[in-house]
Amino acid sequence: METATERQDAKRAKTEHQAAEGAEPMAVDDAVQQKDAAPPEQQQQTGPSMRFLMTQYYKKLFPVQQMFKWLCYGNDSSHAAADGSFSSRRELCFTLEGDIFVRYQSYKSWTDLATDLARKVPSKIDIGPVYTHDPRQRAKYAKDFKPVQRELVIDIDMTDYDELRTCGSGGHICSRCWPFIAVAIQVLDTALREDFGFQHILWVYSGRRGVHCWVADEGARLLADDVRASVVGYLSVIRGVEGGMAKLGMGMVKHPALERAERLLRSAWRQHLLPEQCLLDEPQHYNALLQYIPDEELRSSLAAKWAKGGQGIVPGGNRRASAAAAAAGDSVSLSVRRWDELEKAVKEQASRLPSGKAAKALEKSLDDIIFAYSYPRLDVEVTKKMNHLLKAPFCVHPKTGKVCVPIDPEAAWDFDPDDVPTVQQLVQEINEQQQDAGASPQQQQAAGAEGWRGTSLEPYIAAFASSFLSPLAASSKAALNERAQAAAAEQRTQRADVSW
């Protein structure tokens, strides 16, 4: 009896074991097949397919040479101190159709990259770090394979402003919520240059609902993870949102960096954010803002006044009318007027308070509002780690078709995310150019190398080259010269040692 049950046991155990083993690879296969099967359905849309457009984009429009030159930092030159392996140690990650991630791609030359792009037609390219070794051979180096440098990057996502903005949410972005981004660029760009001393800073529009910043100074690229985290700490003020209110990490007296930020925020606040976002036009918006005022009485009296009076001041005091009034410049917008009222009321109330401390706290609430509403909100995790992937500039955003183009931080206010060229538009422009020129197939091929010339992408690439690439090239060359000199000096001392 016993032996029989034991045998049965063993048999059952064996079959279960097999089943468990067999099940896993099958599940994996299924998943892959599903992924493969999914995209064609999505791609069945009107007009030329995304795949066709992207093929054209990589062939004729994507500035592959400029991008590659950037990521080499002079190591592609014939300079004596140039590191020939540099570019092949940089990770690029492709997202292929159907959200298939192909990580650890690397290239020796821009032509290799161009060929592979034409072949794989990734819907998205991410830039990773430079590793100790070629990432394609990472298995060989196992533990010794680790990231050694990477640009300091910052990501600002419009969705972090959802509880503030009055024009939309989620993937939405428009010229009315752009001021949040523009002021963020201004504040961060100033801090990165003045406080951290960085010079090679590239701002790009992500193509959908945010902006990215790439700091390419050698010092920035070499920052260790804990220092990256400290940069984030220095740059961030908003420590989270609780009950609809931002928690601010700043005291009664401000650090000089925040005082400077405040000056920028204040002017943006009255000139752009209040009038364009109409933050004080409607009850749900001004009530949210009034939360920051610690004085209950003041809050309710203002809310009551605005509830009654709002409509009277600007007929049909809705956003559009108010924005139109502001745009016309002939009258101050409703929100700005209300803000002035609020400021005056707070100051009056503060002067009536017996204790200086309470008065200061009340007045600080005005600063708090401005910081909570307009201080840059960073997606901090992106910045903290050297090996975080971030979408490459001049990629096409797969959802919007918009190209990820550079933004001039000086002119951030004039940037309109709706004016950004899309892949559809660009491909059409090329086709029209070719038709106009009546070019033969041979000529088309020749033009293919820099087909973006004459399209609406050209000014962006030109700006990228002139204000980012060429100063960077000068710095890279200087760094290489320095390295060569240091190496020579080292050799001299070694020789001296030997002779001695």
């Binding site: 406080d195 951290f196 001393g197 010092g219 070499l222 940069v231 700490g233 220095y234 000089p256």
Partner: protein
């Protein structure tokens, strides 16, 4: 612009030590030189465990978010208690040796290295801060770091902003000192203090009693930058004299980090040569419980986080819980249901909320940093203790609930533990392996597997109790805590019997023995009180960790 490139992290030249007058334990070392000389194996082990006690206590204090001042005081007491030798020289020797032993023990994996680096840097910071101002400045200048104090001219130019930073940090007095000396400083003119003159500058400024500021690349003081406690200009941070600890600790960190990496490379050759002698000892250090020898007695019904390891090693947890404990220790994570099941069990055996939070935070630690833990998991633990949500005092999951828990075979697989009853989820193979790890009697294992096959999971668990402890479990197991209670009761009885064995009170012991023999399992084995094979000190610690 090359200031950023030139000195990312300073490399330290000398090996400064200070002769502190406050007490011998304050003598501070950068541990640059590897000690030579002889040390007995006992001392080797004792030194290492004593230092671990200090480091773990600091970690615990930090995880409990105690204030800096409290920890500062704690560290002083801890050092006095564990690290003080009979003479200043002895103390110094113990400090240096124990540091180097732990370097060896914690160099092998990245996790261990980063743990030791973090704790040693903390310890170093608190010890440095305990030095007097003069000693701090001396130590700092003796390190030969390439930083120099700013000139009077630069001080004049920046005084306003330097004061603003101090005000923003709430350092009103220091801010005042800066503003007042800047006004007076007009007469000083444009005296520039030379590059090499850092030490001279210190002396000069001490005379002029103007607050000193050092100009350093911001990379050297990430903690000060991250909390906006310094003025930053063009990549340079202006570090006040009472902030130099950050520079010193930074230098210490990078130095230790490099040494640990070096030790990791050298470890292979070392461990082969020492395979029979030091290697096993060094290997076991990181997983040793350091709480035991404190002999912390917790009244029945309340246990502390520090005791859990001992309880698991003493095989007092039912299989479902010991599996979870091990999984947590190796993966530093439990899935939601696993965490629920385990945390409610710990609650039921008397782990208070505060200790539970401490324990889970520690266990989740390298993978889930403290603040992430607080955000994502602490709520669940507090919820279980009736501190969140509907504030119900939840009781432990019964075996039935655990058995019926849909775990997707997670505990059985390689993933992270989602709880469940291993007698149900494990294959016969896994069950056999798991039980023999708990030193369960072989014959009993067969019976257990049989019962489990027959879907009598609770009976299987009761049988396993017998196989593991040598005594039958007669009351039945309906909740994991019942297993635990029976096991503790048995151990207590045995301990009492052993204590009375040489006296007349052997009656109970005899009963015990009879019980053991009746059980039909193996006879009561002498080592059954103790955990799985461990070093002698570990066994002692475990035995003492059982609540009497």
């Amino acid at each position: 612009m090359n200031f950023i490139n030139s000195a990312p992290r300073p490399v330290v030249g000398g090996t400064p030590t200070t002769q502190a007058s406050k007490g011998p334990y304050l003598e501070l070392s950068m541990y640059k030189e590897v000690p030579t000389g002889e040390i007995s194996l006992e001392e080797f082990e004792e030194y290492a465990l004593d230092r671990l006690r200090v480091l773990k206590a600091i970690e615990e204090a930090k995880l409990r978010s105690k204030s800096e001042d409290t920890i500062q005081a704690d560290v002083e007491t801890l050092l006095k208690k564990h690290m003080q030798g009979s003479s200043r020289q002895q103390t110094y020797r113990k400090d240096v040796l124990s540091h180097h032993i732990l370097r060896l023990a914690y160099c092998r994996t990245a996790d261990l290295r980063s743990w030791l680096l973090a704790q040693e840097a903390l310890l170093f910071k608190f010890r440095f801060k305990a030095l007097g101002r003069q000693q701090q400045v001396e130590f700092f200048s003796s390190m030969g770091l390439p930083y120099h104090a700013i000139s009077d001219a630069e001080f004049e130019e920046l005084a306003g902003q330097l004061a603003a930073v101090l005000n923003a940090c709430g350092e009103w007095d220091k801010a005042k000192a800066v503003t007042s000396s800047s006004r007076r400083g007009d007469t000083h003119g444009l005296q520039d203090i030379g590059r090499a003159g850092a030490a001279a500058a210190a002396a000069a400024a001490a005379v002029a009693s103007r607050p000193l500021f050092y100009k350093v690349p911001f990379q050297a003081v990430p903690d000060l930058v991250g909390s906006r406690r310094v003025l930053l200009r063009a990549g340079q941070a202006y570090v006040g004299e009472d902030q130099v600890y950050s520079l010193v600790v930074g230098a210490f960190r990078s130095c230790l980090s490099a040494s640990l990496a070096e030790a990791a490379r050298a470890w292979g050759a070392f461990s082969a040569a020492e395979a029979d002698r030091l290697a096993p000892l060094v290997d076991s250090l990181p997983s040793r419980s350091v709480y035991g020898s404190d002999n912390r007695k917790v009244p029945v019904g309340e246990i502390s986080a520090g005791q859990l390891a001992g309880l698991v090693a003493g095989r007092h947890f039912p299989l479902c819980m010991s599996v979870m404990y091990e999984r947590l220790a190796s993966e530093h994570h439990l899935k939601h249901w696993g965490l629920q099941q385990f945390s409610l069990f710990l609650k039921s055996i008397g782990l208070p909320l505060e200790q539970a939070l401490l324990f889970f935070r520690q266990q989740f630690a390298p993978r889930t940093p403290g603040d992430k833990f607080n955000k994502e998991y602490a709520y669940n633990v507090r919820y279980n203790y009736g501190q969140e949500g509907k504030r119900q005092d939840w009781s432990e999951w019964s075996c039935v609930k655990i058995i019926n828990q849909e775990v997707g075979g997670a505990c059985a697989g390689a993933g992270e533990c989602n709880g469940g009853c291993p007698y149900k989820t494990y294959s016969a193979e896994q069950l056999r392996a798991a039980l023999s790890r708990l030193n369960c009697n072989d014959k009993v294992i067969r019976e257990v597997v049989d019962k489990a096959r027959g879907k009598h999971y609770q009976l299987a668990c009761g049988l396993a109790f017998e196989g593991i402890t040598g005594s039958p479990q007669e009351t039945g197991i309906n909740k994991p805590s019942e297993y635990y209670a029976s096991s503790i009761e048995l151990a207590t009885q045995r301990a009492a019997a052993a204590a009375g064995a040489n006296g007349a009170g052997a009656q109970q012991g005899q009963q015990q023995q009879q019980q053991g023999q009746q059980a039909g399992g193996g006879a009561v084995q002498p080592q059954q009180q103790e955990g799985p094979p461990q070093t002698p000190a570990g066994q002692r610690a475990v035995a003492a960790g059982i609540p009497a």
